[in-house]
């Protein structure tokens, strides 16, 4: 029996932690608040250390809160991050997404800066500023930067935010044994999708959607151990997914992963979802890193990286690339399906569609088809936003904002 308008609008018969109001994926005001309350205080991955391996190598990154950044390795080998904004007239300092620059010189009026953020030259300074303004007054804005947890370059644009390790808590412990060797990025691409960034993170936070993937059904869901995989929630909204043994040889054209990953059992698979929009995904021979960058309530840019070991032989690297491409490359089986699904959600949840509730009600003892991963995320979302995801505009029954799943 179908629903009429009143029935469609009625709240689901679940605890309020087990569903969210669909408007949190389309409301402009909520989106603006998310940039300030979720992303601005968070540690965000800007790039990987292998992308800036030599002194003076730099990499540009637009922070999800909107701030354009430069991550640069200095002459002292230290990685720092600065606003990519000239303190003179606000011009963009570096234009190419990556490169090597001993000196950062603004093309507009030729003000120059070193890789420690100091201004080294102001064109005709004395003639124009006399003794009223000098190089020491024109430093770049530096933001906090730490390298770690697999060699990723993390940035935080809030000066008094807790350190990275405190932000991550124990969420990365599950991956620590597998991230001891230096890594190297071999793949990078972006996907621009008309969807809300949270929907991508939702997809990475639940595996009930394995029904979407023929590959995962054949190699995972139909194999022993699949339904024992467990979610574990950590403070600050992070979550992990335990491993199982994927049977890659069950998919025609695939094969046992010959290269593997140090310390990881053959066919192993671990995930760490980092609040508010990053995911470590380690499957047998490849580490994939997703970084979601919100562009609007219904618009997101997702950065995808594939990493192998820095010590890989050419043959080993080729194997990893093959493994990566089969499911996670731009023409891979799973990534396209996941992107297509969140694109479809973007169509279904955009303003005006009258979508009403998003269900997160599955309970299976925190195992793989339990939706506790999303519930854990939205408990943190509620705490930081000061809004209940099930009643973000305080229209329904008055309940306190819950901070736990």
């Amino acid at each position: 029996m179908s629903k009429n308008a009143e029935q469609w609008q009625a709240r689901p018969n679940f605890p309020s932690t087990h569903y969210v109001d669909a408007r949190i994926y389309s409301d402009q005001q909520i989106f603006e608040e998310e940039k300030e309350k979720l992303f601005r205080p968070a540690w965000i991955i800007a790039c990987h250390e292998s992308e800036i391996s030599a002194a003076f190598d730099y990499r540009l990154f637009t922070h999800p809160a909107g701030v354009p950044l430069i991550a640069v390795r200095g002459d002292d080998n230290k990685v720092r991050a600065f606003y990519n904004i000239c303190p003179h007239r606000g011009n963009t300092l570096l234009y190419d997404p990556a490169g090597n620059a001993k000196r950062v010189t603004c093309i507009f009026h030729q003000w120059s800066f070193d890789t420690r953020g100091a201004c080294t030259d102001i064109s005709r300074a004395e003639q124009g500023y006399q003794d009223r303004f000098c190089k020491e007054d024109a430093s770049l804005r530096e933001v906090r930067c730490e390298v770690g947890f697999g060699g990723f370059v993390w940035v935080n644009i809030t000066d008094d935010a807790p350190p990275l390790a405190e932000f991550l808590g124990g969420a990365m412990d599950i991956l620590a044994p597998f991230l001891e060797e230096p890594l190297e990025v071999f793949h990078f691409h972006k996907a621009h999708v008309c969807t809300n960034f949270k929907l991508w993170h939702d997809t990475n936070s639940e595996f009930y959607h394995d029904y979407l993937h023929y590959f995962n059904r054949i190699t995972g869901m139909m194999q022993p151990g699949y339904f024992e995989r467990k979610y574990t929630g950590f403070p600050n909204g992070h979550a992990t997914v335990g491993s199982m043994q994927i049977k890659y040889d069950k998919y025609e054209g695939s094969k046992e992963r010959a290269v593997g990953w140090p310390g990881l059992a053959p066919g192993g698979w671990f995930m760490v979802d980092v609040f508010p929009g990053m995911t470590y995904n380690l499957r047998t021979s490849v580490l994939r890193m997703d970084t979601a960058i919100p562009l609007g309530p219904n618009e997101a840019l997702i950065e995808f990286r594939g990493l192998g070991l820095k010590r890989d032989t050419p043959e080993e690297r080729a194997e990893r690339i093959f493994d990566h491409n089969m499911i996670w490359g731009p023409f891979g089986r799973n990534l396209h399906e996941d992107l297509l699904a969140v694109h479809g959600q973007g169509r279904g949840l955009r303003t005006g569609t009258d979508a009403r509730w998003i269900l997160q009600g599955r309970e299976e003892n925190s195992t793989i088809h339990d939706e506790i991963g999303m519930r854990h995320y939205y408990a943190e979302w509620a705490r930081r936003m000061g809004r209940a995801p099930f009643d973000p505009f305080r229209e329904g029954k008055s309940e306190p904002v819950r901070a736990v799943a």
Binding site: D96, F186, F188, K190, H192, G329, F331, H336, E337, L339
Partner: protein, 154 residues
């Protein structure tokens, strides 16, 4: 330098390969390829300053991939490959062919077409008299932003 007849035959081979893939006639496409055919999609990332391989298959692997694709969920919008053969350099029994490539995607609902990707085909064609066949195709993409993507090779 190819003679006019060779050039015409090579151009037609490239164009037939586009038509076959546009029509999702995978067997027809593979019939245009040698037994030791190799297909890859590559691109350069200015972000990580590296050449990348996005797809890499021998003929058997490509055949398996194309057989598997209907079992997967995908975007059903058709794509149209527009190739223009730029250069044909004939060597010893083979020709090296460079073509400009544009790929357009046409939405099923309403039929709007949009540019999906640009790049080049770098083909190696084996010259077997009248029976020219593709020995190798490297698709070098300039476009790296492909939205929610696509399953079928270009």
């Amino acid at each position: 330098m190819a003679n006019p007849e060779q050039r015409q035959a090579i151009e037609e081979l490239v164009y037939r390969s586009c038509l076959a893939l546009d029509d999702r006639d995978f067997k027809g496409f593979l019939a245009l390829c040698e037994e030791d055919f190799h297909y890859s999609i590559t691109t350069y990332s200015p972000e990580i300053r590296k050449d990348m391989v996005w797809l890499d298959h021998d003929r058997k692997g490509l055949d398996t991939l194309l057989t598997n694709l209907p079992r997967h969920n995908s975007d059903h919008s058709p794509i149209t490959r527009h190739a223009t053969v730029y250069t044909v350099d004939v060597g010893d029994g083979t020709a090296t062919v460079v073509s400009a490539l544009q790929v357009f995607r046409t939405q099923l609902d309403g039929g709007a077409s949009e540019l999906f990707a640009v790049g080049r085909f770098h083909d190696t064609v084996k010259l077997n008299g009248a029976g020219l066949k593709l020995a190798k195709r490297v698709v070098k993409l300039d476009t790296r932003l492909l939205g929610y993507g696509y399953h079928i090779p270009f």
